[in-house]
């Protein structure tokens, strides 16, 4: 049982991840952009962040940089991207300990990844 923060502007993706995570017994906090997610992170108590890259107001990359560099948060981060410039994203996330998943993704595999990351953290 973990508190997972979702940052995603696509309502269907958000809904789907919520269904899967809740079914696995996790608490889900839904936010529609990076700014909302930052507010939630500032509030504390989040165990894992699942975020999209392309979002209005504050995008996923900016959010991760803020939480690692400024807020000093070291929780696991899973990032979803529908973009094709994979290498560019990899380079900009270098050193930020982010697990990147390309869209379209498999919900079951994503859940396994989240579970794995949470378990590793507890250990």
């Amino acid at each position: 049982m973990a508190k997972i923060l979702l940052a995603e502007d696509d309502a269907h993706v958000m809904r789907l991840m919520s269904i899967w995570l809740e079914r696995n017994g996790h608490e889900v906090v839904e936010t529609r952009n990076g700014a909302e997610a930052r507010t939630q992170l500032e509030g504390g108590g989040i165990d894992c962040l699942v975020t999209d890259i392309n979002m209005p107001v504050l995008n996923g990359l900016e959010l991760v940089r803020w939480m690692r560099d400024e807020a000093g948060l070291d929780m696991p981060v899973i990032m979803l991207s529908a973009r094709c410039d994979q290498q560019k994203i990899d380079k900009s996330l270098e050193g930020y300990r982010v697990s990147l998943h390309a869209k379209p993704f498999s919900p079951s595999r994503l859940i396994s990844e989240i579970e794995g990351l949470l378990t590793a953290r507890i250990d």
Partner: protein, 626 residues
């Protein structure tokens, strides 16, 4: 009198003395010489004749003193004497006769003893002294003189007479010979004089013509051809004409040289000249650099880029500290092209201008001997190409993103269904709904991409049918109502109670409506209103999508319809989009013979109106109605 004087003066100052005058002078001269010669000849001949006659008379008188003949007959001595005398003195006749005219002695022996008969008047004469007479019967061209001398013996009257006929032709023949010789010499002299005169006259005539032509012609240097002497063949004229040819060719050479100098000046001085003017209009910066970075030539684009304004920048150099930022960037490329010992090497680099333009800077060394430090710099504005490349790259990226988004939902929801982990009927229905909706979204997206690619290659074809627009609009609105609700946007539809079917391509017009609706919802914030309306009016159907969203800056009104172009507005950039929706929509409408108009103001919303003709007007060439 004055008239005669003036005529004489005119004659005297004439450049050329008339031929008749020269000939008259010549005839007069020859006549005078001939007359004088003839007179001299006659005079000298008479003088010679008189002298010879006197000599002959003296000689005969002397002979008479030696005669010893008496009345009895001739002395033999006398006979011998007569012969010797006749021989030495060229006597044709020599005789002695007595008072009775009886010949005592004669050169002709047959005459001796005879009585003289001929020349009766002379024979009758009994002169007491010497007489002489020219014989008139001597014949043509002969001159003879008869001399008669009494032979005296003491103080007695003469009893005998000595008579001789002298031939004077000998001395006169000599004289004639001398005269003929003199005449010949005179003739030769005159002929030589004539030849010299003729020669000098021709020469002087040529000189006179040259002088006349020179004094007559104005602007001699422009009319060299007029100075030519055509009607004479003498060496002076030929020489003069050759000199003129040389002058003309030199003049042409000077003109050619001047023309080429002008061309070079035009090229090298930036101002004036057709080449320089032409170079000023080409969309390419051209600059020739000398050693040390001095600018030998810079066309208009280079001067604009470097900020060298004004008519002609007399001294321009890359080291100039007044050059613009763009100029400095070009100068930097030139500096980087400098190799070892300052020799230039070919370099090409892209630079970004201060205003966001992109330039391709190419440094081309001028490969002439000892000119290794010279180079030509070409600057090409590639902003459009760069923008197009960036837009294309962005388009691919956006299309990928747009395709992946519905695909993500389809895959994820399908996997949710197939996992069997969710048995809540509400969840299952939701999954089916999302999959259906996202499939439709994907299909629309593919239709858009297909349309744009058909537009690219010009193969778009319309499948025309009678379409109920009310129904089509309602359907399209239904598809996006969910988005409107999630964004809390008030989506309204205003349709007339009745609308006749319109002949159009249903799928393509659906793309148009979806794109316009999608944009209206995408660029409207929560609480905004979007109204879709449609009405038939004046031969056309007007379909409007009006929103109270962020609006479009007037400067972007044209640009947003261009392919891959989106407004620079940060609000627009914050939303995802391919930049092909409006392009596709407008092209589809234009293929139907209509157009899309836009009314919008930044911050106040936008109204896109689709004008579709009820009777399809001239279609685009690539359209084939079926």
């Amino acid at each position: 009198m004055g008239r005669i004087l003036s005529r004489f003066r005119a004659f005297w100052s004439a450049e050329e003395i008339p031929r008749w005058f020269g000939l008259s002078l010549l005839v007069l001269f020859i006549g005078a010489v001939g007359a004088v010669s003839y007179y001299a000849y006659r005079h000298s001949r008479d003088y010679a004749f008189a002298q010879t006659t006197h000599a002959s008379e003296d000689a005969l008188d002397l002979l008479a003193g030696l005669i010893r003949t008496d009345s009895q007959g001739a002395d033999p001595v006398d006979q011998t004497l007569l012969h010797r005398f006749a021989r030495s003195q060229r006597c044709s006749e020599l005789r002695i006769y007595d008072r009775d005219l009886r010949v005592i002695a004669s050169l002709l022996s047959s005459e001796t003893g005879q009585t003289l008969r001929s020349r009766s008047e002379l024979a009758q004469a009994r002169p007491a002294d010497l007489i002489s007479s020219t014989l008139s019967d001597a014949g043509p061209n002969r001159r003879q003189v008869l001399v008669r001398v009494p032979v005296r013996s003491g103080g007695n009257p003469p009893q005998h007479y000595l008579e001789a006929v002298f031939d004077l032709d000998g001395p006169i023949a000599l004289l004639n010979l001398l005269q003929a010789g003199s005449l010949l010499i005179a003739l030769v002299g005159i002929t030589a004089l004539l030849a010299v005169y003729h020669r000098l006259r021709t020469q002087f005539r040529s000189v006179a013509r040259i002088a006349g032509n020179l004094s007559d012609a104005e602007n001699v240097e422009d009319r060299l051809e007029d100075l030519r002497i055509n009607d004479t063949q003498d060496a002076l004229a030929t020489g003069w004409n050759s000199l003129l040819d040389l002058a003309i060719s030199l003049k042409e050479e000077v003109a050619r040289s001047a023309a080429s100098t002008e061309l070079l000046t035009a090229i090298s001085t930036n101002a004036g000249g057709e080449l320089a003017e032409a170079m000023g209009t080409v969309p390419l910066g051209v600059m020739l650099l000398a050693e040390q970075g001095e600018v030998c030539y810079a066309n208009a684009m280079i001067r604009r880029l470097f900020g060298w304004d004004g008519e002609v920048a007399s001294i321009m150099a890359l080291s100039d500290d007044k050059i613009s930022a763009d100029g400095a960037a070009v100068a930097e490329v030139v500096r980087s092209a400098q190799g070892v010992a300052g020799a230039m090497r070919a370099t090409e680099r892209r630079i970004e201008g201060a205003d966001g333009s992109y330039y391709n800077v190419q440094v081309v060394p001028v490969l002439t001997q000892r000119q290794l430090r010279r180079c030509v710099v070409l600057v090409l504005d590639v902003s459009q190409q760069v923008r197009a490349d960036v837009a294309r790259e962005e388009f691919v990226s956006q299309v990928t993103h747009e395709l992946r988004t519905p695909l993500t939902n389809i895959r994820a929801y399908a996997e949710t269904l197939s996992s069997g982990m969710f048995d809540d009927p509400k969840v299952i229905t939701e999954c089916y709904n999302v999959i259906t909706k996202e499939t439709r979204r994907l299909s629309r997206l593919i239709e858009d991409i297909l349309s744009i690619s058909q537009l690219e290659v010009g193969t778009m074809q319309l499948v025309l049918d009678q379409v109920d627009l009310r129904e089509l609009i309602t359907e399209c609105v239904r598809d996006v109502r969910g988005i409107a609700e999630s964004k809390e946007i008030d989506l309204q539809v205003v349709l007339p109670p009745k609308l006749d079917p319109v002949r159009l391509d249903r799928d393509k017009i659906a793309v148009v409506i979806n794109n316009l609706l999608g944009n209206a919802l995408k660029y409207s914030r929560s609480g905004a209103q979007v109204v879709v309306s449609c009405k038939a009016n004046e031969g056309e159907v007007r379909l409007s999508v009006k929103d109270t969203g962020i609006g479009i800056d007037e400067k972007d009104h044209d640009r947003i319809f261009e392919k891959f172009q989106r407004s620079d507005d940060p609000d627009v950039q914050g939303e995802t989009g391919t930049g092909i929706g409006l392009t596709t929509a407008r092209e589809i409408v234009r293929h139907h013979g209509g157009d899309i108009s836009l009314l919008s103001k930044k911050g106040e919303g936008s109204t896109f109106t689709v004008h579709l003709p009820l009777e399809k007007r001239a279609a685009a060439p690539s359209t084939a109605a079926r």
